[in-house]
C-alpha cells in the first residue's frame, strides 16, 4: 500500500497542479470578462465578416461568414507552407549534396550559402525580399514579358490562365497513367525478386505519363487554350494586368524567404545523413561491382534517409509555423486574416486566439504524423 502511494503520489500531485493552474486561468478570464461585459462564445463565426481579403483560394468576399474567412486564411497558410516545403526540400537536398562535392568552388559556395542564410533572422529576410526586391521590380507598364506571356512586376507575377475543355477526361487519363505505373512497378519488383531480371521502370513510367494525356488530347476531345494577361490602364501612370492568373508579390516574397531560410537547415540534415553512412558501406558496395549511381541509390540513400527524416520533419514544422510571419508583409495567412482582422472586428480575443493555436497545433501534428509514417516505412524491416 505504502509502496503504491509512493509510486503514484508525485504523478497525482502533478495532475492536480496542472488542473489547478488551468482552472485558475479559466476562472480569472471568466471573472474579468464578466466585469467588462464581454460575452464568450463562438456564435460570431457564422456572422457576416464584412471585410475583403486580397488573395483567396476559395470564393470569398465580405458577405461571407467569419468561418469562411478562417478557411481562407487557413488555406493560404497551407498554400505557402506547401510551396515552401517543396522548394526548401529541393534546394536543401541540392545544397546538402553540393557541400560534399569534391569540387572546391561548388563546395565552398554551398557552405557560404548555408552560413549566410541561416544566420540572418527570418523576419529580416522576409522584409528584404519584400521591400528591397519589390522596389527593384518594374511597374506593370515597364515590365518585360517573360516568354512573351508572363510579367513579373511590382504588383505581382502575372501568368497565363489555362482554359480547359473536357478537363475531366484529361484528369482521368493522368489517374489511369498513375495507376498503370504503380501496377508495373509492383510487377517488375516481383519479376526481379523471382527471376532476377530488371525492367526499365523509369522509362516506361515517363512514357506512360506523357502518352496517356497526349492521347486524351488527340482522341478524347480535350482542348487547352491560354488566357494571356493584358495590360490595362487605370489612370495616367497606373496600370494593371487583366486576365490570366496573378500571384501577389507577398506570396512570392514569403515563399522565397521561407524556403531559402529553411533549405539551409535541410541541407545540413542531408549532409549529416550522407556522412552518417559508414565509409565501409560504400566501399563494400563498390567492391561487389555496383556503379556509383547504384551505390548512391541502393546503398547510401536508403540508409541516409533514416538519419535525414526526423530532423527534417522539425524543419517542415518550423517552416509552417514561421509562415505566420506573413502578417508583416500583408500576405493574408491565418494570423493576418483571422487572428488579425477578424479578431479586431469582433473583439473575440480568447476565442480567436484559441482557435488559431489549435489550428497550428493540428497542422503541425498532421505533418509530424505523416513524416513519422514515412520514417517507419523506410526504417529497417526486421524479418
Amino acid at each position: 500500500m505504502n509502496f503504491k502511494l509512493k509510486d503514484i503520489g508525485p504523478q497525482l500531485m502533478t495532475v492536480i497542479a496542472v488542473v489547478l493552474v488551468f482552472g485558475f486561468f479559466t476562472y480569472n478570464a471568466q471573472v474579468n470578462m464578466e466585469n467588462r461585459g464581454i460575452d464568450f462564445g463562438y456564435g460570431f463565426l457564422s456572422q457576416e465578416s464584412s471585410f475583403d481579403v486580397q488573395f483567396s483560394l476559395i470564393e470569398y468576399d465580405g458577405s461571407h461568414s467569419y468561418f469562411r474567412a478562417y478557411l481562407v486564411g487557413l488555406l493560404n497558410t497551407i498554400l505557402v507552407s506547401v510551396i515552401g516545403i517543396i522548394l526548401a526540400t529541393i534546394l536543401g537536398v541540392i545544397v546538402g549534396i553540393a557541400r560534399l562535392s569534391p569540387n572546391y568552388l561548388i563546395n565552398k559556395f554551398a557552405a557560404f550559402y548555408v552560413e549566410f542564410f541561416r544566420n540572418i533572422p527570418l523576419l529580416l529576410q522576409i522584409f528584404f525580399w519584400y521591400f528591397a526586391a519589390l522596389r527593384a521590380l518594374p511597374l506593370p507598364q515597364d515590365a518585360e514579358a517573360i516568354f512573351g506571356i508572363s510579367f513579373l512586376t511590382i504588383k505581382g507575377l502575372f501568368v497565363p490562365a489555362f482554359i480547359w475543355q473536357n478537363f475531366n477526361i484529361f484528369f482521368y487519363s493522368i489517374v489511369a497513367a498513375i495507376i498503370a505505373i504503380i501496377v508495373i512497378r509492383i510487377h517488375s519488383k516481383k519479376k526481379q525478386e523471382t527471376q532476377g531480371k530488371q525492367t526499365p521502370v523509369l522509362l516506361i513510367s515517363i512514357g506512360l505519363i506523357f502518352i496517356l494525356p497526349l492521347l486524351s488530347f488527340l482522341i478524347g476531345g480535350v482542348r487547352l487554350s491560354f488566357e494571356v494577361p493584358v495590360l490595362k490602364q487605370l489612370a495616367t501612370t497606373s496600370f494593371i494586368y487583366e486576365g490570366g492568373v496573378s500571384l501577389p508579390p507577398e506570396l512570392i516574397a514569403l515563399a522565397l524567404s521561407l524556403s531559402l531560410y529553411t533549405a539551409t537547415f535541410i541541407a545540413e540534415c542531408v549532409r549529416a545523413g550522407i556522412q552518417g553512412v559508414g565509409k565501409g558501406q560504400k566501399e563494400a558496395a563498390a567492391s561487389i561491382g555496383l556503379t556509383p549511381n547504384q551505390v548512391l541509390k541502393l546503398v547510401v540513400m536508403p540508409q541516409a534517409l533514416r538519419i535525414i527524416i526526423p530532423p527534417t520533419t522539425n524543419q517542415y514544422l518550423n517552416l509552417t509555423k514561421n509562415s505566420s510571419l506573413a502578417a508583416a508583409i500583408a500576405y493574408p495567412d491565418l494570423v493576418l486574416v483571422f487572428a488579425g482582422t477578424a479578431l479586431m472586428q469582433t473583439g473575440k480575443a480568447i476565442e480567436i486566439v484559441s482557435i488559431t493555436m489549435f489550428t497550428y497545433l493540428s497542422l503541425s501534428i498532421s505533418i509530424s504524423l505523416f513524416m513519422n509514417w514515412y520514417n517507419n516505412k523506410i526504417a529497417i524491416q526486421e524479418k
Binding site: 465580405g62 489612370a235 494593371i240 487583366e242 502578417a327 488579425g340 482582422t341 479586431m344 473583439g347 480575443a349
Partner: protein, 346 residues
Amino acid sequence: MFKYLKQLTSLVAMVAVLFTFTTESMAAKKSKTLKNTQKKGFVRCGVSQGLPGFSNADAAGNWTGVDVDVCRAVAAAVLGDANKVKFTPLSAKERFTALTSGEIDILSRNTTWTLSRDADIGLTFVGVNFYDGQGFMVRKSSGITSVDQFKNGISACTNIGTTTELNMRDFFNSRGISYEPVAFEKADEVVAAYDAGRCDTYTTDKSGLAAQRTKMQNPDEHIVLPETISKEPLGPVVRQGDSVWEDIVRWSLNTMIEAEEYGITSANADSMKTSDNPQIKRLVGAEGEMGAAFGLDNEWNLRIIKQVGNYGESYKRNIADTGILPDRGPNELWTKGGILYVPPSR
C-alpha cells in the same frame, strides 16, 4: 433583557448597513484604476506606433500629439504632473486587447468610436478629440483627382484591424468597383509599400493620410483626394466597469475644449481665478467643488490647462504648426463654425 437585546441587535445591524453604504460609496469614488494609478505614480497610456500630430515620439523618446495630450491632461489631473505618463505604442490589432487586459488604462490612439466597439468588446468611449473621415491618397502623376476616376482592378494599401478595411469594402462595393486590398499590420509598412508603387492608392483617415504624407520620400508627389467616404470620430477609450475613471478621462478632455471656449490658456490660467465669470472660475478650480466627485482636489482642471493647455493650443502645437492640417475644419469650436461642443463643467 431579551427585549433590549433584540433592539440592540437591530441597532448594530442598522449601523452595519449604514457603514457598508458609506464604505461602498467611498470605494466607488476611489476607483480601482485611479487608486492603482496614484500608487504607481504614472498614467499608463496606449498610443500609436508613430502618427505625426496625434502620437509620435521624437529621437529622444518624447511623445507629442493631440492624443498624447489627452493622457498628459489626465496625468496632470490625477497626479499633478503632465509628464507622469508611461506610453505604450500599440498596433491597431493590439490596442483593444491591451486595454481590456489591463496593460494600459487609457487608449488614446486615433481610434474610431463605433457602436460595435463601444457595446461588444468591453470598452467605453469617453468622447471625441478629433472629427475625421476616411479618404484616399494617390500619386499626383496618376492624374486622378477624384474617387470617381477609380477603375476595376485598383489596388489599395491599408492597415489591418481598422474601420478602414470595412469602409473600403462598403465604398468599392456600392460603386461596383473590384479592388485588391493589401492590408499590413503596421502603418510604416503600408506607407513603404504604397511609396514603392505596390498600390495605386493608400486609404485611411484623412488626418492619417496628411500625417503619413510628411513621411514619404517626396511628399509633393502625392495628393489626398477631396472626397470623404466615412465618419471617423476619434477619441480616447477606457475599460468598461470603472465609471469614475471613465468620468475623469471624459472631463479632462472636456476641460481642454471648454477652456478654449472661454479663452483660458496655459499662460493666463492663474489670472483667470479672479475672473467675474463663475463658469471660468469653475474651470480653474476657484469656485464650486468640481473635483470631489472624482476623488480629486479642486485644482485638477487648472493643472490640465496650465500644464497641457487648452484644446486650441494643443491643436496648434501638434497639428497646425507642423503643417499636417493647418485648417481646423470640423475640429473648430461650435462658436466658430466647427462641431466641437462639450457639456458644461458645473
